[in-house]
Amino acid sequence: MELVSQHVKGIMEECKLRAMDHGLTFDDETLEYIVTNRDMIELSPKVMIPTLYDYWVHDVRVLSGKGMYEAYPSNPFETVINTRPAISFYNDNNPDWLNVMIFYHVLGHIDFFQNNLFYKNTWDIDLTGQALSDKRMIAKLRSEKGRWVDYAIEFARGIDNLVGYHRELNLNILNESKQPLNRTDFYFDIFLQKIKNVSHNDYLKEITRYNEGLHNNGDFFNLVVNKYPEFEELYRKELLIKRKTELDIMEYIILNSAFLKEDENEWIKAVLQIVRNTSLYFQPQIRTKIMNEGWASYWHDYLFMRDDRICGHEVDYAKVNAAVTSMPKVGLNPYALGMRLFQHIKDMEDRGCYSFDYELLKDEVEKKKFNKAKDSGSDYILKVRENFNDFTFINSFIDQEFVTAHNLFVAGKRFNNERMSIEYYIKSKKAEDYKEMLVDTLYHPPEIFVDLSLTKNGVLYLNHKFESKPLKTDYIENTMIGIEYLWGGPVHLETSEPATSGKTAAAYANFWDPSSRQTEEKKPEPVKWKRMLYIMENRKLHKREL
């Protein structure tokens, strides 16, 4: 691993200037390293952070990565990590013109890391430094505690997808705004709804009264205080209460586990904290894959096409670009999809389509011709990259215009009995269906929290919020063994399971064997759910229906 040559660094600096001219913003300092494919294989299990703590799972991944490379060699162009300064890794055999394109792509990533608000909590951390001190800490613990450190890491990682990422982010943003709760918000959000539990009707009446008060400058709270003499006192109290925060499972265990409170187990808290922080750090990246790749691809295309260094390499570029950003006939490519969506948003905004005038149009031809020449698209997409994540991005901007313009569809797959083949067919060309299919592919860990009312007598009670999705049952046992270890007592998990799964499977078997039973052409019944309780005690798992 070595820094790029001065010549290549020069190309990068040139790219930075041009990218900044077009509105991208990022720190001046960046580090570029040349790495071999072998280095890449060794780095990728550590999420490309060279200083991440050692753990045997990483070693397993490295060994299998090497095997994979032996069978199917590949040559990644670049990898960027979200650090200050931003670090990026390259292969060493690229010609200059290709480096220009790759650098634009990388700058797109860096701009995204440093401006998208979902990364806010990562902005003030020097990750490589932090990771290095964590790594030393873990190494030191390992020399004292031996393989028990690995168990602690394993069990901590078993729940590191349940970290309260959104809550941490929310806290950070709230702290920054530092606005104390004002009287109106308290009255409507807390006092009426939570303290007085007034009826819906009364609530709406109060709102109307408040709105009228705004027009004729009447004192709204006069009447309130008359009606509820205790209001002012309660408001003052509310301001004094620090906002109580809900803890995620990892925090709860760190603070409350009887096992971890024992002196000889204190060190496990440090391990939990390290694993939790590392997980929190990577949360925004998992949640902005399509946007991040799309944004980088959008800019490498936009900037390189306007760069004189493309001269003589137009065809080469077309080939490389097509390999990265073409839409597959069947399947998904986040680079391609994100890039096209950004282009689409810019075009729509340039024409002023995000407006009532446009939405009200019924005529397709009128819609196509619609152009208010706002030309505000460039600023608009900069705002989008600042304020959206994959879900909101897809949910807000995938519209029928986009799906139609790019001939997108949901591809279905079914078995054809007569032809003995698997058919791929166009299932739907509706934007809503396409959106749903995309949203289904996004990262979405289950929402599991500590149920404080049922956590007593040494039992940790976890509740899995029902979202029409069961947990993967194969993984429950080992995960719960880990939690039991960290908690130092029995762990209960409440979750939902489909109650009718057997039936659909039986119907499936009939489908293939028409000779025996009559084929039932009925649709499978809608899934019924039952609430289950998993109980982990002394490393034994039981379950029962609730």
Binding site: V60, K329, F409, H464
Partner: protein
């Protein structure tokens, strides 16, 4: 960098600490033409967490998971198809049955414990009923042992032999005047008198074996059942490879309502789900091949069959007839029935007719059956293998 053996050693220690093992040995098989696949052994592991299961509950039967797509066409239009019964000779056509664009990139990693298994169980596993059938193709197994002796240099000093030698030398030199009163301190010792044992390669000739792997790939086999059958056969196959250094001959047969032979193990395990089920066809094909190529004369023949127990031939008349025929020449038939979890305590058709026909008890030395659940874990599968070849 940590090595595979160190990782496995670490994993073994987990058991002492009261936790389950986590590392499995997988292999990446890079398909090549004509059975020349490249097999790379790699460790794999899963980090268990609470995650959503990816099953789709509302899906209609016969329908796969939807994905994205681009191109011309109307709703409902078929844009491509993929035959489920792959055509022989169409290399590169088969895929993994998952369709293109799934980002698989040819990642055919099967988890199997095979290598470990081969190492650990090599003493326990012995092909049963091996008979000497001539030396048409020598099956050599090499053993390394400290059997040969060498004077002067070697790995281990053979004290007894050396002492004998020294006494012999001293007698010839007349250095031992009185046999009843030997003074060993007066011995003259030549370097050539030291006798060592050295490591040598021993060749072990055995009769040649031919193994048929039969697998049901009918529609009902989709999902875990196939995984279980395949992983059992993978273990058997890799154990054979490990033990006999690729000298066991293997043939692979897939069947639904008709049977076909495929050329290599890669095709055998990767082909997926086709139509109905007629178990008899597979056994018939084996009988035909054996007869046509006159294999029974030169080989010890083993047949392993994996199925979910469904058969359109309800009472198994044809199947039993074919098996009876097979029993006249075969050294062992091993049938694994992997039950769908919805079967419950009911017996599957194949299990039923095998039991009622009485073959299992009449020829208990030649045919074995193992019934396991589709959720069987590795240790259960290994236990099954032991049962099949016991």
């Amino acid at each position: 960098m940590i090595t595979l053996d160190e990782l496995l050693e670490k994993d073994r220690r987990r058991e002492e600490d009261g936790f389950k093992r986590k590392i499995r040995i997988g292999r990446i098989v890079k398909p090549g033409t004509g059975g020349k696949e490249k097999i790379i052994i790699v460790p794999t592991t899963v980090e268990e967490k609470f995650v959503h299961d990816e099953i789709r509950l509302e899906q209609e039967p016969g329908e796969g998971e939807p994905t994205g797509g681009t191109g011309e066409g109307e709703e409902g239009e078929v844009i491509g198809e993929q035959p489920v019964r792959p055509q022989e000779g169409e290399e590169g056509e088969e895929g993994a049955g998952e369709g293109p664009g799934q980002g698989e990139g040819g990642e055919h990693e099967l988890e199997s414990n095979a290598y470990e298994l081969g190492k650990v169980l090599s003493q326990d596993f012995q092909l049963p009923n091996l008979k000497d059938k001539g030396k048409k193709r020598t099956l050599a197994r090499y053993i390394y042992d400290l059997t040969d002796k060498n004077r002067g240099v070697g790995q281990i000093l053979d004290k007894k032999a050396t002492l004998k030698r020294i006494i012999e030398t001293n007698i010839t030199l007349g250095n031992i005047p009185d046999i009843s009163n030997i003074d060993s301190t007066k011995f003259i010792i030549s370097p050539q008198d030291l006798i060592y044992r050295i490591l040598s390669r021993e060749k072990d000739f055995e009769s040649q074996a031919l193994v048929f792997f039969l697998r049901d790939y009918s529609g009902s086999m989709s999902g875990k059942v196939t995984q279980t059958v395949v992983s059992q056969h993978v273990m058997l196959y890799s154990w054979l490879l490990y033990q006999y250094e690729k000298q066991v001959e293997t043939r692979f047969i897939l069947h639904d309502t008709e049977a076909k032979e495929v050329s290599d193990f890669y095709k055998y395990y990767s082909y997926k789900v086709a139509g109905g089920t007629k178990v008899a066809t597979a056994f018939k094909l084996v009988n035909d091949i054996v007869e046509r190529e006159n294999l029974a004369r030169d080989y010890n023949i083993y047949v392993f069959h994996g199925t979910d127990g469904d058969d359109w031939d309800k009472d198994g008349k044809q199947t039993i007839a074919e098996i009876e025929k097979m029993l006249t020449y075969v050294s062992r038939i091993g049938i694994s029935i992997v039950e769908h979890s919805y079967v419950g305590s009911k017996q599957t058709e194949v299990e039923n007719y095998l039991k009622s026909s009485g073959i299992l008890t009449k020829h208990s030395n030649l045919i074995k059956m193992d019934v396991l659940d589709e959720n069987a874990d590795d240790s259960r599968i290994i236990q099954g293998i032991k049962q099949l070849i016991s």
